[in-house]
């Protein structure tokens, strides 16, 4: 059974004909070619696919496209500032080397956005707990946590001692 689903994605209205079983992540990646939303697992664990639906962080691999009928969806492609520059969270990830292979990164950025909306000044422990549903295999999380705290406006120069070559 094909259904037409209409929603707003990154501020643009879109309409696609999908099967009932089509996942939101599939609609975004295959139909809309917004491939920044990644698929890293099949059990809703990794968080590479996190997008926002009506302002809430959602694992897009866990939601059917038709469930997003009429919704406001935003993805990693819609996060940069209007002039194309990196937003505060994206910039903090770059400044603090919060990504390596980049595969988990879109989900991390989207999850961070929803964390900071709920809790503008999270502690280290709060950040780590909030990332429960986002797996990164590359970074050991250190620089992700640091980037998130920096994005929240906190001074991160002292939270992790690193003695580098001077």
């Amino acid at each position: 059974m094909m259904t037409t689903v209409t929603m707003t994605v990154n501020g643009k209205s879109v309409s696609e004909t999908v099967e009932g079983r089509t996942l939101l992540s599939t609609l975004l990646r295959d139909d809309l070619r917004l491939t920044g939303t990644h698929i890293g697992c099949d059990t809703s664990q990794c968080g590479a696919c996190v997008v926002h639906v009506n302002g809430k962080a959602v694992k897009s691999c866990t939601m059917f496209a038709i469930e997003a009928q009429g919704a406001e969806v935003s993805t990693i492609e819609g996060q940069a500032n209007a002039d194309g520059s990196l937003n505060v969270i994206q910039q903090a990830f770059q400044d603090h080397h919060g990504l390596q292979c980049g595969f988990c990164t879109p989900g991390m950025v989207m999850t961070t956005a929803s964390l900071l909306k709920e809790n503008p000044k999270p502690t280290e422990a709060e950040v780590r707990t909030y990332l429960e549903g986002n797996i990164c295999r590359c970074t050991g999380y250190h620089n992700i946590v640091k980037a998130i705290m920096a994005a929240s406006g906190q001074d991160v120069s002292s939270i992790a001692a690193e003695q580098l070559i001077s």
């Binding site: 664990q45 080397h97 595969f103 280290e124």
Partner: protein, 790 residues
């Protein structure tokens, strides 16, 4: 002072912008016009005879275009092991064929025996369901000891489950035995190096394409080394001429070893593309990844350390069974041998080492190199038994290590395990570790933990590893079937910007940022005007790819050599422009000048002249400014480090928490400290994961019980602490032009024994006489150990 974007600068990564904005281009993001999908039929039994595969019904299902079975690949070659290892008796290892699709028998759960090509993956999956398959199940061979003792063979045709029985160094065997027999004290430890699944977050994906008009094949694939994949497909598996096959590895979402290797799915999509004249794509799901990506580690080891009455190490002897799984993956035979046995002298002046390594076929997924590849296993065995020995003879574990360390004035040092270490200063690393970890504050922190009812332990580790693999002539003698150089082309464009084609592949390491830093530094130009091209066999000269922490030490050295050639040629062109002898022309900071004059031309002007050679010494110099270098290292590089960690253990639950983790590493010269630090962090995360949570479990029937993120514990952010990382105590690699050693695997090598040593220390502080707990030290294991102990 480093230039702000040259060598030594912590430049932020240029590749981040596309990853942070969703503009990366990973294999599965690529969609070709008219592409169709491959879906694999995989065995759900670990060991079985394929009686029949009836494709009649499936072939008529909607969207089905073609069905392949093992029968279709009987005539083509197998996927080979990259190293030939000989047993102690001189017999070559057993090398059963690894076919594109299983034929005759299936040998592990997930072994693919058929593939359906359909218009969509969903249609392909439906058709796989409709295949009528009869597989007669046999008892599975899972446990390595049973595998060696029994007559149930993974490969009937070789009549054994032992791949080889290797000794290193065989000539030292008798002397090692004698040293252990006559020693004042011998510490013996049996341990397991737990089997791990690499789990790059991007699953594998391969897209095959064929142009019937030209006979050209293209494979886009998740690979750490596209040239080696091309070579394997061309020379061993499908016989496609190398010049008719382009392998492209676009953005790759992590590898950690698992994407070094050629896999059958890559050959299948190419064969299917040829048959159908269509682009054929396969994307693994996570469950398939668990079942079919090469796993890591899986050693069972007995190690003995002999000491004299003063605590001097006399000998290390190990006996290990290493699992290779059902088929030999490309690096599976070198990983437990030359990447492991040769490191068994560690950081120590010990005179004798003997390593016995038996590799065993089982009905499990292939096992191969995973971050560290053999060196983590060596370090774990050594550093656990040393800690245990220190306890047994009542010595401080740091002091005992220091007493036996190779000293800075002993380099180059010929280790008892056959390597020549070129540089290092293990005492300086240990000093720095003690300082930056605030070791002296440990007692107070322990008291605080105890006041909360928790046990606190301090664990330490010293490691040395071998990177930058490797001199080709040496590895050739040791059985490598390839050379291990790397290559780079520096192309100066007419307008003065540069494209640098490198054989190394970046899948998180930041090459696009780091390699330009080197070239910018050498040429005195802005790094932003230099772009890196990698991961495409049609664009780069050649390359052996990225693994074994070799990108900088080997490919970076090739970049230096090619850039030196550019400078040499540019000086000749500049000499002509300046009407001077080349020997009178100096080059610094992007400017060519004539000694003792104020005459000069810029690098950009020389570049333009090379491409517009109107007034040009054409009889002496070719136009253009492009140079290629192949760099074959003179030796391995030897990164080393001293790590410590502090854990808290809850005696009520057995839960271990790593509270502090310090890594002091010697990586030689560091090009970008930010990236190097990040590499250490990642390794630490994986190493702590191995120590505490990660476990791959097959049941006796060969079912993989830990085949999803619900069952396989991936370290999460709240399992890990902030780390202290230091590389202030470096010694320079003496034999490559960058002085660089390699940093990609260190964290995963140094951390597991550190964590285990700390947990044992915590146990002892709680009055429990526990000398060893196998990884992963889950709450259940620790709690059980505590309850069983006195």
């Amino acid at each position: 002072m480093p230039k702000d974007d040259g060598i030594g600068a912590a430049t932020v990564r240029r590749e981040d912008v596309r990853f942070l904005t969703g503009r990366g281009r990973y294999s599965d993001d690529i969609k070709a016009y008219g592409e169709c999908a491959a879906v694999f039929a995989r065995s759900n039994v670990a060991n079985g005879t394929i009686k029949s595969i009836n494709t009649d019904v499936a072939a008529t299902m909607p969207g089905v275009l073609a069905i392949f079975t093992g029968e279709d690949f009987v005539e083509v070659g197998g996927n080979p092991a990259g190293w030939l290892i000989n047993s102690r008796d001189g017999e070559p290892m057993k090398e059963p064929k690894r076919p594109v699709l299983a034929h005759g028998k299936v040998r592990h759960v997930g072994d693919a025996y058929a593939a359906v090509i359909a218009e969509t993956a969903a249609q392909g999956r439906d058709a796989v369901e409709a295949l009528e398959v009869e597989i007669e199940e046999h008892a599975a061979v899972i446990n390595m000891k049973d595998a060696l003792a029994g007559t149930n063979y993974v490969h009937d045709e070789i009549g054994t489950n032992q791949c080889f029985d290797w000794g290193w160094i065989e000539d030292n065997r008798a002397a090692t035995d004698a040293a252990i027999k006559g020693a004042h004290h011998v510490t013996t430890l049996e341990l397991v190096n737990n089997r791990l699944v690499p789990n790059a977050i991007e699953p594998r994906c391969s897209i095959g394409d064929y142009n019937p008009g030209t006979g050209d094949y293209t494979l886009q694939t998740t690979s750490q080394n596209p040239h080696m994949t091309r070579l394997l497909i061309s020379a061993f598996v499908l016989g496609i001429p190398e010049n008719k096959l382009t392998v492209i590895a676009p953005d790759v979402g992590g590898g950690f070893g698992s994407k070094i290797y050629h896999y059958g799915e890559e050959a299948l999509v190419l064969a299917a593309a040829k048959k159908l004249g269509r682009t054929v794509k396969w994307t693994s799901d996570r469950s398939e990844a668990f079942l079919t990506d090469a796993h890591g580690r899986d050693h069972v080891t007995k190690i003995e350390l002999a000491l004299d009455d003063k605590g001097n190490f006399l000998a290390f002897r190990t006996e290990t069974l290493a699992n290779v799984g059902a088929y030999l993956s490309n690096f599976s035979t070198v990983t437990p041998t030359f990447l492991h046995g040769t490191l068994m002298a560690g950081n120590y002046t010990v005179p004798l080492v003997y390593v016995n390594m038996k590799t065993v076929f089982t009905n499990t997924a292939p096992v191969d190199a995973y971050r560290g590849a053999g060196r983590p296993e060596a370090t774990f065995s050594l550093e656990r038994v040393i800690d245990m020995a220190a306890r047994e003879i009542g010595r401080d574990p740091i002091e005992l290590r220091r007493q036996n360390f190779i000293k800075p004035d002993q380099y180059p040092f010929a280790s008892a395990a056959g390597l020549e270490y070129d540089s290092g200063n293990y005492d300086a690393l240990m000093d720095q570790m003690e300082k930056v970890s605030d070791k002296t504050g440990f007692a107070a922190r322990r008291a605080e933990s105890e006041a909360k009812g928790l046990l606190r332990g301090f664990g330490v580790n010293a490691y040395v590893e071998a990177c930058g693999i490797a001199p080709s002539n040496l590895v050739g003698i040791l059985g490598a079937r390839v050379g291990l150089y790397d290559a780079a082309t520096v192309r100066v464009n007419a307008t003065g910007n540069l494209s640098v084609m490198v054989g190394a592949h970046s899948h998180g390491q930041g090459h696009e940022t780091v390699f330009p830093q080197i070239v910018a530094d050498m040429l005195g130009i802005d790094a932003a005007s230099i772009d890196i091209v990698h991961g495409d066999t049609s664009k780069i000269p050649f390359g052996m790819g990225t693994y074994g922490s070799r990108s900088l030490a080997v490919c970076g050295s090739a970049v230096v050599r090619a850039t030196e050639k550019i400078i040499a040629k540019a000086i000749k062109i500049a000499a002509h422009m300046l009407e001077a002898e080349a020997s009178d022309v100096d080059f610094s900071d992007g400017t060519f000048s004539v000694k003792g004059t104020n005459k000069s031309v810029s690098f950009g002007e020389v570049a333009l002249k090379a491409y517009i050679p109107h007034d040009y010494p054409i009889d002496m110099i070719e136009p253009g400014l492009e140079e290629t270098a192949f760099y074959d290292p003179a030796n391995f590089t030897y990164p080393s480090g001293a790590y410590c960690c502090e854990v808290e253990v809850d005696p009520e639950t057995g839960k271990v928490r790593v509270d502090r983790m310090t890594a002091v590493d010697d990586f030689g010269n560091v090009i970008n400290p930010m990236i190097v630090t990040g590499q250490v962090h990642g390794g630490l995360g994986q190493g702590i994961g191995q120590a505490l949570v990660e476990q791959t479990t097959y049941d006796d029937d060969g079912q993989l019980l830990s085949a999803s993120y619900m069952d396989y514990a991936m370290p999460r952010a709240d399992d890990l602490p902030f780390y202290v990382v230091d590389h202030s105590q470096s010694t320079i690699c003496t034999h490559n032009p960058l002085g660089a050693k390699g940093c990609g695997e260190a964290g995963a090598i140094g951390s597991p024994p550190t964590v285990v040593n700390a947990v044992i220390d915590a146990m002892q502080s709680g009055g429990k006489n526990i000398t060893h707990i196998d990884m992963p030290m889950t709450p259940h294991r620790v709690w059980t150990a505590m309850n069983n102990a006195q």
